[in-house]
Structure formats: structure tokens, C-alpha cells
Amino acid sequence: MSPMKLCVPGDKLCSVEDCIPGTGVYLRHGYIYSSLAGYVLRKNEGEELPVISVVRETETQLLPDVGAIVTCKVTSINPRFAKVHILYVGSTPLKDRFRGTIRKEDVRATEKDKVETYKSFRPGDIVLAKVISLGDVQSNYLLTTAENELGVVVAHSEAGAQMVPISWCEMQCPRTHAKEFRKVARVQPEYLQA
């Protein structure tokens, strides 16, 4: 593995005709410049031009983007929406918690008006959701769970035990065998441990 080249912000890396800009770089007057202090990485993507990007050992804070799958924890619920703290973006943990909102009509795809948030989420649940909007000045990130793979993944029953999902709308406590309503996520087969 050849030693990677060091670069600092403002270093001219190459012209836009030789490479495609990736992350950590910017374009100016037909040339690609570095915007981070790190190592230059050139990746060949087939017949196209190589993609050039600058990487650091410690990645900076990732911001949730529209369409990203995020893992969040429900903090409070309300008949109209549920407020959550976004903990992970994809599989990257965030250093700082971002706040998000799941509106009542975004909880599931069918029968949106008949949704009761109390029967879909409870405070303390871990939920997989997708970002639909960055929100405006007043509101937080807007999230949705209106897909089969999105919804509650981990929930604790009123007795305190971690519940097992039974169907897409119910979970059961292994200790008391009481059933509770949640909007459950259908976890992809590859993530289930045999």
C-alpha cells in the first residue's frame, strides 16, 4: 500500500478533468482543492474518472440527511406526535443528540387518521425511522415510520422486561405474558441471529 499523501485545507489536488470530487474537497475555477487536513484517497470506479476525496482518522459529526435511516429513542408522546432523540445515523453514532418528531400521520402508511400514538410508541422505545425533512425554523427533523422495516425495535414492558414482537402491532412481555401495542419494525432477515 503506497504511503498516502498528506494535505491541508487549500491544497490544490488536481484538475476537474482528471478526477471527480468526493468528500472533503471543493471545486474552484476548474480545480479540486482540499478542505480538510488529512490524507488524499483516490478510488477507481471502473471506466469513469477516479473519485478523489480527503479522509481523516476521526470522522467529523455526521448530520442526518433527507432519506437517511436513523435510530432514535422516544422521549415523549402526545396525541398528535412523538418526540424523539436521534442517536445513530445509519450505523454511525452521533456525539450529540439531535431532536426529531414523528407526526401521527407518519407513523404508518395505512389508516393514518386512526393512529393512536399511545398504541404505537412509548417513551424509552428504540425506533428505526427515516428522515423526511430537515424541518423549518420552528421544528426539528421530521421522521417517518410508515414502512414495514421501520418502527419499534426494542421496547420494555411495564414490568421492565424487554418485549418480544408478535405481530406488526403487538409485542409481548416474556415475564408477565402481557401484550402491548406498538408499531413494530419487521427486521430484515439478515440482521436476525439464528
Binding site: 485545507p9 471543493y26 487536513a37 482518522e57
Partner: protein
Amino acid sequence: MGNVVQSEARGAVRFSSVEVCGNMAGLELLSDQGYRLDGRKATELRKVQARMGVFAQADGSAYLEQGNTKALAVVYGPHEMRGSRSRTRHDQAVINCQYSMATFSTAERKRRPHGDRKSTEMSLHLKQTFEAAVMTQLYPRSQIDIYVKILQSDGGNYSVCVNAATLAVIDAGIPMRDYVCACTVGFVDETPLADLCYAEESGGVSSLALALLPRGGQIALLQMDARLHQDHLETLIEAAMTACKGVSKVLDEVVRQHLQESSVLSGE
């Protein structure tokens, strides 16, 4: 009586000594041989020493000394907007700067370290400077905090803050177009002096502070609140830009060395 020899008629070398109460206070900001109060030449910068990554808790941090002026810069972010949510910008990040001086930083103990007018103005200047260099469009609806504290003040406070904050922002991994280097220059006896110290700044020198993006030669901030003849402005700005480019070389060294050290530690 006899320790001063003046032979102006023959144009011989002039000796001046502090005991003679001739010219104002006897301290010459620029002697005939071209030496300043601390022995530097007119275009010579003070010694710059810097370290990056001094705090583990912050996202980015740096400590920089320029002569006797010492500053500590800490960067947090980008993170969600805190405080007034109405200041959120939908298309870019908001940069929040705070400048403060330690109470022991000046000759007399400072009564109000932050919140006074000068600190607020300095914080605003720092914010404007970094908004020009940091690529804020990559982080909409978020906030980047830059806190700078002066531990010892000996002139050129703004410049040292900008240089320290540049290193801290690079340490935090926030993308920037280029380094931001700053220097304070003054005009004495038709000569521009680079990197003023406290004695020169308070000695009635017209001082100009310039923050520059060295590679493109773009000025991020130019500030002066003294009187200067229009004809001298060009020369002074040129001298400031040269001094900033000198500072940028030193900062570059520091960044490259820090990168190599941290990669050695992570075993790359």
C-alpha cells in the same frame, strides 16, 4: 550630561539613551539601525509556537503563542442549534464565536473578562472572519461554536485569536476553504512594522489588523481604527499580506506535523 553624542551636521551615527529626556518618553519604536523595542527588524514576526488537539473533550482545540501573546481556542460542532432556535439558517450552519480574556492576562487584573463592548466586538469580528472561510453550506440548520480565550495579552490579540481558531477548526475536521491567517501591522516613520506588540500598539502607532486566506490572497477581514494617510494604505496592506503569508507557513508546518504524529499513533 555627557552620555549622548549628537552630530547631526556631519550625519554621523546617533546614540540615544533612556536617561536623556529628549524625545517622547525616550522609547523609540524604530531605531535608526532599524531595530524595534524588542530587537526585531521592521518586517520580522514574533516567534510562533502552536499545538493542536490539547483538549480531548472538545471536537477541536489548539494553543498558540505569538511572542508573549498566548491564546487557547476550542471548537465544538457542528451540532444542533442551541439557545435561540429562531437563528437557525435553513441553508448553512451558524458560527457562534466567543472571545474572552483571562483576568490575569493583562498588566492589571481585568475586572470584566467577557460581556464588555470590546469582547463583543471582537467576537463579532471573529464570526465574520470564519464565516468567510468555513464551508457552512455543508451543515444546514446546525451550529458551530468557536471559543477563544487570551491567557496572556501582549498585543495583536485579534490576530493570535484568528490563528489559534484556524488550527482548532482544522483539528475538529470542519471543512475550510483555506487557512485563515491574521497579523496586526503598524506604520511608524514611513515604515510598516509587522506583528505589533503591546508597547507598540499603545505607543500611538496606527495599527491595522488583516485576516487573509493566503493561497488565494483573499482578505477575510480588514480592520483599522486609527488615522493613516491615504498614500500609505497600499504599502501597509501589502506588508500585512506578506506577514500573513509568513504566519501561514508556520501554521502549515504545525498542521502537517500534527497529522503525522496522530497517524503514527493510530498505527497507519
